[in-house]
Subunit: 198 residues, 2 copies
C-alpha cells in the first residue's frame, strides 16, 4: 500500500521543485523577476497550485532564507569536528561564507534582503542571536578571549558584521567579475580581526 507514500514523495519533490525554480529564475534574471506565474510555468502547473505548498510568495523566500542559514550552520558543525584551533575555525568558516555568497548568490540575496529579494520574516536573525553560547563561532571567540558572556556576544556581533557586511557590500556594489579579486582582501580583514582578538 505504498500509494500514500508515493504521493508524499511526489509532494515533497514538487515542493523542492518550486524552491529550485524560484532560485533558478532569480539566478538567471533577478529576484524582482520571480513571480508565482513564472514558477508555475516552469513546473508545468497552474499558479494556484503553489498555494498548496506555500501559504504565499513570502513563505517561499522564507524557506530559502532559513535553508540558507541552515546550510551554513551545517558547514560550521563540520568544521568544528575538523579543526581544534578556534582561530583556524573562524578563518575557515569565513572562507566558506565567502564561497557560499559567491556560488549561491541568489540564496545569499534572500538571506539578507538585498537586490530585489524581499522577505518580511526576519525571525531567523533573532534565532541566530538567541542561543548565542552554543553557537560555534561564539564558542570560538570565547575560547580565544575568555571574557564575560556579554563581552563575547559583543565580539560575536562584530564578527557577524565584519564577515556578512563585507559580503553584502561586495555583492551589492561590485560587478560580478570583480568579486574574485576581492576575496584576498576579505580574508585578510578576517585574519586581522582574528589576530586582534588575542
Amino acid at each position: 500500500m505504498g500509494i500514500v507514500e508515493r504521493r508524499e514523495r511526489m509532494k515533497k519533490q514538487l515542493r523542492a521543485d518550486i524552491l529550485k525554480t524560484a532560485r533558478d529564475i532569480a539566478r538567471e534574471e533577478s529576484w524582482a523577476a520571480v513571480s508565482i506565474r513564472k514558477i508555475a510555468d516552469v513546473i508545468e502547473y497552474s499558479p494556484p497550485m503553489l498555494y498548496e505548498y506555500f501559504d504565499n510568495k513570502d513563505k517561499i523566500l522564507e524557506t530559502i532564507r532559513n535553508d540558507g542559514f541552515a546550510a551554513l550552520h551545517e558547514e560550521l558543525q563540520k568544521l568544528k569536528t575538523l579543526y581544534r584551533s578556534p582561530e583556524k575555525l573562524l578563518t575557515e568558516f569565513a572562507q566558506i561564507q565567502w564561497r557560499f555568497a559567491i556560488e549561491q548568490t541568489e540564496v545569499f540575496q534572500v538571506m539578507f534582503n538585498i537586490d530585489g529579494a524581499n522577505c518580511l520574516s526576519k525571525q531567523v536573525y533573532q534565532a541566530e542571536f538567541a542561543k548565542l553560547n552554543t553557537h560555534p563561532v561564539w564558542e570560538a571567540l570565547a575560547q580565544i578571549r575568555p571574557r564575560s558572556a556579554d563581552a563575547v556576544s559583543k565580539t560575536f556581533y562584530e564578527w557577524w558584521c565584519l564577515t556578512y557586511g563585507f559580503l553584502l557590500i561586495s555583492i551589492v556594489t561590485q560587478p560580478r567579475p570583480q568579486l574574485p579579486n576581492l576575496e584576498p582582501i576579505f580574508m585578510e580583514s578576517v585574519r586581522r580581526f582574528v589576530r586582534g582578538l588575542s
Copy 2:
C-alpha cells in the same frame, strides 16, 4: 515676464514633492509599498503625470540613491575643513554615516538595495571607486599610512565594507529599537580599525 520662471519653480517643487512622497511612504510602510499610484494620490495628480518628471519608477529611486551619496559627500567635505587629523576625520565620518543610516533609513535602504528597495542603476558605486585619490577618506587613509596607491585603495575598500557593511547588517537584521545599543559597538570597531592602520 516671470511666467516661465514661475512654471520652472513649480516644476522643481513638484519634482521634489514626488521624491519626498516616495520617501515618506517608504518610511511609514516600506519600499515594497511605494507605488506610482500612491505617490500620485498624495501629490494629488494622476499617475501618468509622474512620467513628466521621471522616466520610470526606477529613476525615482536612482535619484534618491544619488542624492543620498551626494549628501554624505557634502558632510564629508564639511568635516575636512573642520578636522586636520585624518584619524579624527575618519571616526567623525563614521559617526555621520551611522546617524544618516539611522535617521534616514529609507534613503539608506535605497542606497544599498536592501529591504525591498530595488534600484537597478548601480553606477554610483563605480563613481565612488573611480576617482579614488580625490576621495577625502582615501586621502585620510593615505595620510595615516602612506603606501602605494593600490595598497591605499585596498584599505579604502576595507573601510567601506567595515562601515557600510556594519550598518547594512544592523539595519537588515536588527529590530529598530535595538539599534541605538549597537552604535558604541560600531564606533569601537571603527576606532580599532583606525588604530590598526598606524
